[in-house]
């Protein structure tokens, strides 16, 4: 029996097979496609749980199984599977959250005519993400990474007949591709210097001490160590996928896809991939920490981008009015927190937050999906309202998710994971700015989530759709309840008093601290949460909005700031004016070049060819053909002459034969036979 890790490929292969079955099935086979998808995810979940149990038995070991994909010149391209607690936790999370989202989709997508296509694309999405998670080679990871991009493109543009959805799909694809270009360059550079893209290979993988030591001593341009440069290039890819500051613009637009897709993107698969990637190759990112001469540390950049994103996402979310868009910007903000945690050196805290966030963000999105489903696709919070009384299960679970996201103390998982991040930020040497950004984000998060909850579930219904909304069916609410349980319970795996999750992830025992260790920081953040919740309640809960057209309290207080935040800090417009315009100009230039310069040259060549052809034909027809014609005419005439001798009269032939015989006999006689 080979070790379990050799069979790890089955985990992504199961959903991939379900996707193949679904893709090959005829259009109407709804039950086959959804059944295969759900069964495959359940199987992946079961296998992931086994893998997790196996990985936890030896948490500090990186078990791997490498194989050769193909030989190339003197070397070979090798891929592999990896099993350690980080992978295993991710696998379980992706397959569990994915499974719940699939079940939810049964209800949500019930009336869609492309039900089958939806399920096989979702399976493909999950398979790609699982491939990213279990691979032991950056190349294999990159393959899965690009498949994630492809599947997200197809799913965001699922309702491609809507121009907004098609545009959003394109935007997501292109924006993440810009980051992926950096990632690819990083991979090439890494392969060039270390000769291997395997993470662990018994001493030869690039994450192991030997290669890292080599890399850290090499210096790229401008005093940067090679590891720093490669890390930053890889971080480009992670920033694109995880919606970090300069490349976050696609994430809010990705809302155009069906809500379960948003849940999958925001919780389990796509955006998690970037954070996971940085955590996976964390030794590479931190290799330059020991170099005193380095002008810039890779992790400093990660922390800065994370802090900016966390604060910016939270600020923009406070001024949005689309239910799903608020949640999208909250994802941007939370991903900023995770990157911040990575940047300040605590990848364990980042993954802890990633896991808890996956649960409560999937919960929030699915609950939002339930609301949208009930309100007939009204998703403007100004037109909703009063749903708390009519949709009790959705309301209760949404409230749990909201409190977990806001970081309401002690009971909810978001509190503990955010606390871990803030704690790590407070211990970071170089600067306290990330800590302050994180603390400011805490207030904003609590504030905008309270605003969202009050607008949707409190007050009078402000549109006919909202007043007729009814609770969604059990197939949709059951996943919500399971996720709500996860959103509460998961936090207790990683409290300071019992850091089980952290020790397993880090592969070393982390000493337990008293529950209220770092009490001052905890007290500050609890106060900030209370401030956020209280101000949100004061503005939106105490005096609920009366009609859809009434102005937002923030809007009356600071109209220009509100408009600026509402327009997403005008970043889309900025990109359109700079990158977009540059692109248009380059396209026009290319068009001119193409049309006149290259087109002219090609046209000239074509004319030349045409002339040569004409010449050829003349020579052929006049010179060659006449000669051949004459010869064949002669041959035919000769044949005709001979055929006249063939009369068909047997006696004639016999006579000729006899005559010839006589002549022959005479010749023999006269010549004497010699």
């Amino acid at each position: 029996m080979e070790p379990l890790v050799a069979y790890l490929w089955i985990i992504p292969a199961l959903p991939l097979a379900a996707a193949a079955v679904g893709a090959a099935a005829p259009r109407g086979s709804r039950r086959l496609a959804s059944g295969a998808a759900i069964a495959a995810m359940a199987g992946a979940l079961a296998l992931s749980s086994v893998a997790l149990k196996y990985a936890l038995a030896a948490p500090s070991a990186h078990q791997f199984c490498n194989f050769t994909w193909f030989d190339l010149g003197n070397g070979a391209v090798r891929l592999g599977w990896l099993l350690d607690p980080l992978n295993a936790f991710m696998c379980v999370m992706v397959s569990l959250v994915g499974l719940l989202i699939f079940i939810f989709s049964l209800g949500y997508m019930e009336d869609d005519e492309n039900f089958k296509r939806f399920f096989w694309l979702m399976s493909l999405f999950a398979a790609a993400m699982l491939c990213v998670v279990v691979s032991n080679s950056l190349l294999l990871l990159f393959i899965g990474w690009e498949l994630v991009g492809l599947a997200s493109y197809l799913l965001i543009g699922f309702w491609f007949h809507r121009p907004a959805a098609a545009a959003a799909a394109k935007k997501a694809f292109i924006t993440t591709r810009i980051g992926d270009l950096g990632f690819l360059l990083g991979l090439v550079w890494l392969y060039d210097t270390t000769g291997s893209l395997l993470l662990y290979d018994g001493g030869n993988g690039f994450l192991e001490a030997h290669a890292l030591g080599d890399l850290a001593t090499q210096v790229a341009a401008g005093g940067l160590a090679a590891t720093t440069a490669i890390s930053l290039l890889i971080f480009c890819g992670a920033a694109g996928k995880s919606g970090q500051f300069p490349l976050h613009v696609w994430l809010p637009d990705a809302m155009e896809g069906p809500t379960p897709v948003s849940a999958l993107i925001h919780a389990a698969t796509m955006v998690a991939a970037g954070v996971f990637l940085v955590a996976r190759v964390f030794p590479l990112f931190s290799a330059d920490q020991g170099l005193p001469a380095a002008t810039l540390h890779a992790l400093t950049v990660v922390a800065a981008i994370g802090a900016i994103t966390a604060l910016m996402g939270a600020a923009i979310a406070a001024a949005q009015s689309d239910l799903k868009r608020i949640l999208a910007f909250s994802t941007v903000s939370q991903l900023g927190y995770m990157m911040l945690a990575l940047g300040v050196g605590s990848w364990v805290a980042a993954i802890f937050h990633l896991l808890t966030h996956a649960f409560f963000k999937a919960l929030l999105f699915l609950a939002a999906g339930s609301v949208i489903h009930a309100a007939h696709h009204v998703q403007d919070i100004r037109e909703l309202g009063g749903l708390g009384a009519r949709m009790r299960t959705t309301f209760a679970t949404f409230a749990v998710g909201m409190m977990a996201l806001s970081g309401v103390p002690f009971v909810f998982s978001g509190f503990w994971s955010k606390e871990a991040i803030l704690h790590a930020a407070s211990e970071w040497g170089p600067s306290s700015l990330p800590l302050y950004a994180g603390l400011a984000g805490v207030v904003l998060t609590a504030f905008y989530m309270t605003r969202l909850l009050c607008e949707v579930f409190w007050g009078p219904p402000r549109s006919p759709a909202a007043s007729h909304a009814r609770e969604s069916p059990a197939v949709m609410t059951a996943p919500l309840v399971v996720l709500a349980a996860g959103a509460v319970g998961l936090g207790f795996l990683g409290t300071p008093a019992w850091p089980w999750l952290q020790s397993r992830l880090a592969g070393a025992e982390i000493p337990a601290r008293p529950l209220l260790d770092g009490g001052a920081l905890m007290a500050v953040s609890i106060i900030l949460v209370a401030v956020g919740l209280g101000s949100g309640w004061a503005l939106y809960g105490r005096r609920p909005r009366a009609s859809a057209a009434a102005p937002d309290p923030l809007q009356s207080a600071a109209p220009r700031l509100f408009a600026f935040l509402g327009a997403r800090m005008k970043l889309d417009e900025l990109y359109a004016a700079t990158v977009g315009r540059l692109n248009t100009f380059a396209a026009a230039l290319a068009d001119i070049l193409d049309r006149w310069v290259w087109g002219g040259a090609v046209g000239l060549l074509a004319r030349l060819g045409e002339f040569a052809g004409l010449l050829n034909r003349e020579v052929d027809e006049v010179g060659l053909n006449t000669g051949f014609d004459t010869v064949s005419e002669e041959i035919r005439r000769t044949g005709q002459a001979y055929s006249r001798a063939q009369t068909g009269e047997a006696h004639g032939y016999l006579r000729t034969l006899a005559l010839a015989f006589v002549v022959l006999a005479l010749l023999v006689l006269l010549g004497g036979g010699r």
Binding site: S643, Q646, T647, G648, E649, H651, A658
Partner: protein, 103 residues
């Protein structure tokens, strides 16, 4: 005359009779008969040269003749079959009428 010369004269006569028959008759069966006579004249020559040659090896002439007779029999069978099919076609076996095989 020596016996060989007698034999050769006889076979020449036989050949001439066969040739005349094949050229002169219009009934195709009789033409076949003439051809058969000419073949047998040749066979007679072979036997004669074998019989009267001074140092002949055993049975060479006879083997030749046996082969020639076998081939002639097969040929006659084909010839007769042709005649029958010609008859079926044109209800007539005169050779002058069978001119449709010209190119």
């Amino acid at each position: 005359m020596s016996p060989l010369q007698l034999c050769l004269a006889f076979s020449s006569a036989l050949f001439a009779v066969g040739l005349a028959g094949a050229l002169a008759r219009s009934n195709s069966i009789l033409v076949l008969l003439g051809i058969e006579l000419m073949l047998n004249a040749a066979n007679l020559n072979l036997i004669a040269f074998w019989r009267f040659s001074p140092h002949g090896s055993p049975a060479t002439g006879v083997v030749f003749v046996v082969f020639a007779i076998a081939v002639a029999a097969a040929e006659t069978a084909v010839g007769l079959a042709l005649v029958i099919s010609i008859y079926r076609h044109q209800q007539d076996i005169r050779l002058e009428e069978a001119t449709r095989l010209k190119g």
